[in-house]
Amino acid sequence: MPSFDIHFDNSYIAAQPIGPLYNSLLTFDLYNNEKIVGDLAESWEVAPDGKQITFALRQGVKFHDGSAFTCADAKYSLEKLADLKRSSVTMVALMENVFISATCRDDFTLVMALKRPSPALLSLLADGHAVMMKAGIAEQIDRKDPKFLVGTGPFKYKSYTPGVDFHAERNPNYWKPGVPHIDGYQAVVMSDLTKIFASFRARQLTMTGIGRHLEKPEADILKKDFPDAVVALGPRAGWDSFVMHNGKPPFNDPRVRKAVALATDREKMIEIAAEGWGTVGGYIGPHTPYGLPPEELKKYPQFGDDMAKRQAEAKRLLAEAGYAKGLDIEYVVRRGPMYERGALSRQDDLKKVGINLKLILVDTAAFRDRTDKGDFQAYTVLSAVTIDDPDNYYARLVCDSTLNLGKYCNAEFDKLFQEQSQMFDVQKRAEITRQMEHIVLRDIPDDRGFYWKSAMGYWNRVKQWPPINGTTVFNFGKFEQIWCQGGKCM
């Protein structure tokens, strides 16, 4: 675990074991993910101009160290979330665009002043990372020290052995009456999918992972041989993409990018990389209300059914761009079965139109090093967002965004981005995001192979486990609602 501060570290590796130690101001309704409900905020009110949100904070909430949660803690947490030195760039990228200040009207009333209206902000505040921390904690305790873990959540820190496991125990003074039902949990570190599944089958694990770590052949075994196992499948806000450097030849030529998209057989890639557990989509999760419906997507040649026709068009475009004899591309791929399988499928497809991908397999550290420095022609990554909001999806395609590693830039797209970012009405917002989809489906800043599905296995003794949604890996309800039949979870 890189650190114990999940404002700073926005990976699911940290959020899953640590998240249940905290509460946020808001949270997603576990059974209706599009609905936001109060957590440490009992209620909230958005001003008519959308530039101020007033939160009525819950009273009688205590941190694990016995101190009371007040507005000062919420104010501190929000300011920390907007500070690049103390929070992740993804969090700050969203916060800095909207956040002006947080002030306490009294101990239990917080007022948030905003630069502009922002529907994404409410989703961000409900995200499993935007937790409320004790005021001053980051200045008093090193974020790598487990003593940092002082929250108000249903579980308390018990122990951590790096590379081995993380233990948490029930918080007997949790503010929500009657929960949690379980005495504690252990998050076990396992790097190998085979071992994870074997340990699950041997009933050493209650679940294979939260929203992850179950593959289709394993699910088939569970369905066939383990009637008491539950295979949960759902959408995932994560996608395979072929990121092309739009600022360097040959991908600074849109015709070459289009040829890549035309030549990529997405259905085949879903079969090879995800063993069927994937969905074709545009530049925003197809499970959200903001993307184009499949029949609209089909109107774009890169989603057409006739592969021979697509390949012929790709060759024509390449010839027009001056690559009639084909071209060689250095293709950086992060090591890992998920990434490699998709990359091989893509390599095979592109070869058919004369684009020879030279695969450079690198481990995570080297991968991040190269992509961050822009040292690539193309790379493949499984990208994901922590909240299913258009701001989060599209931020990596906005001209001056730090998340925009492919260096795509389109002024019209940026203008629409700003416009949708202030629209609270979902229908109206979707109308704008669909216009944005048309722009990027035409420009092809990167090629979206497919959207993954989330899959996990757990034993049916575990009750009240929520359905899988796009961001279950981050937002899964802190284990507070679950209970195990007969007190045994596996």
Binding site: S11, S88, R201, A384
Partner: protein, 318 residues
């Protein structure tokens, strides 16, 4: 003799220095930024430029290589290997908590390996060119050629498929719960011990075969001793010397094998720690582990050299 030993001990210093310098430089030649890794290693992580700089400064990675090297070397001399970049704990503490686990597994592997090797080797020798011998030789060849990681995965799958069982996840020291400790380590120990047993059995077989042709064995038989006494009391005792020598050398290989086995079976020993440290570009931990391993190898070699010199005067006078 004492001059010879003194000279051999002096040679340890440049050997160790060479090993640690090499690993220090190799680690820094590897592509990849430690700070980037620390800040995020999954698909949703994005690096924060200011934080990257802070981390590089905090770890001393912004200092010239020679300064980093000097600092580390001076610390190592005082057994202060610094803090792990990954776990943030003092490396020496990490080693202290993980070495007993690896030693526990190594000891079990060694005992099991020997318990299998010697009877098979002896049986194979006294039943030379029979079905028993052929079976034993197949066992030995398989042990030498099957990679540990592959066998380990097969064992895991077999245990789960046929018995719905796997070694318990949480490590318990032998003195805390011997039965749980046994259940946890028996299969990993059998797998690493298998290779050791194959080497031991092969050596035992050829050694026993050689000894069985010696005059003193013929004399023992001529005295009318029971064949079992001849083999076990007279032949085996003499045949075991080269076996013990080769097992001593193979112990070093065994430690290499434990890296794989600990990773596959998720045993929190030094082997797994080394793999994690490499993945996390945790330079202080890797350097400390390599140094400890190098010390171990050098000491074993020194011991072997001293024993040889003691037994063979030509070596110490050379």
């Amino acid at each position: 003799m004492s001059i010879y030993i003194f000279r051999r001990i002096l040679w340890i210093i440049p050997t160790l220095l060479g090993a640690v310098t090499l690993i220090f430089l190799l680690m820094r030649l590897l592509p990849g930024d430690v700070a980037l890794y620390i800040l995020g290693s999954d698909e949703s992580s994005e690096a924060n430029k200011q934080a990257l700089e802070d981390i590089r400064h905090e770890l001393g990675l912004d200092q010239p290589l020679i300064v980093q090297y000097e600092k580390w070397l001076w610390g190592a001399v005082r057994l202060d290997f610094g803090n792990s970049y990954w776990t943030h704990q003092p490396v020496i503490e990490e080693l202290k908590s993980r070495y007993p686990i690896t030693a526990n597994l190594a000891f079990m592997s060694l005992v099991l390996g020997m318990l299998i090797a010697i009877p098979i080797g002896v049986l194979s020798a006294i039943r030379q060119d029979t079905l028993v011998d052929y079976a034993a030789r197949i066992f030995v060849i398989a042990g030498l050629s099957i990679p540990n990681f592959w066998l380990a995965i097969l064992v895991i799958l077999g245990l789960v498929h046929y018995f719905q069982w796997l070694p318990p996840l949480n490590y318990e020291p032998f003195w805390a719960d011997p039965w749980l400790n046994f259940k946890q380590l028996i299969f990993p120990a059998l797998i690493t011990g298998y290779r050791l047993s194959a080497i031991g059995a092969r050596m035992t077989r050829s050694s026993v075969l050689e000894v069985l042709r010696d005059d003193f064995v013929r004399t023992a038989r001529a005295k009318g001793l029971h064949e079992r006494i001849v083999v076990l009391k007279h032949a085996l005792r003499n045949a075991l010397l080269p076996v013990i020598t080769i097992i001593g050398v193979e112990l070093l290989v065994l430690f290499g094998g434990l890296v794989v086995i600990e990773t596959v079976f998720t045993i929190p020993g030094v082997g797994r720690y080394l793999v994690d440290a490499i993945i996390h570009r945790d330079y202080p931990s890797i350097q400390a582990l390599v140094l400890v391993f190098a010390v171990f190898v050098v000491l074993v070699n020194l011991l072997v050299d001293i024993v040889y010199a003691f037994l063979d005067p030509r070596i110490r006078y050379a």
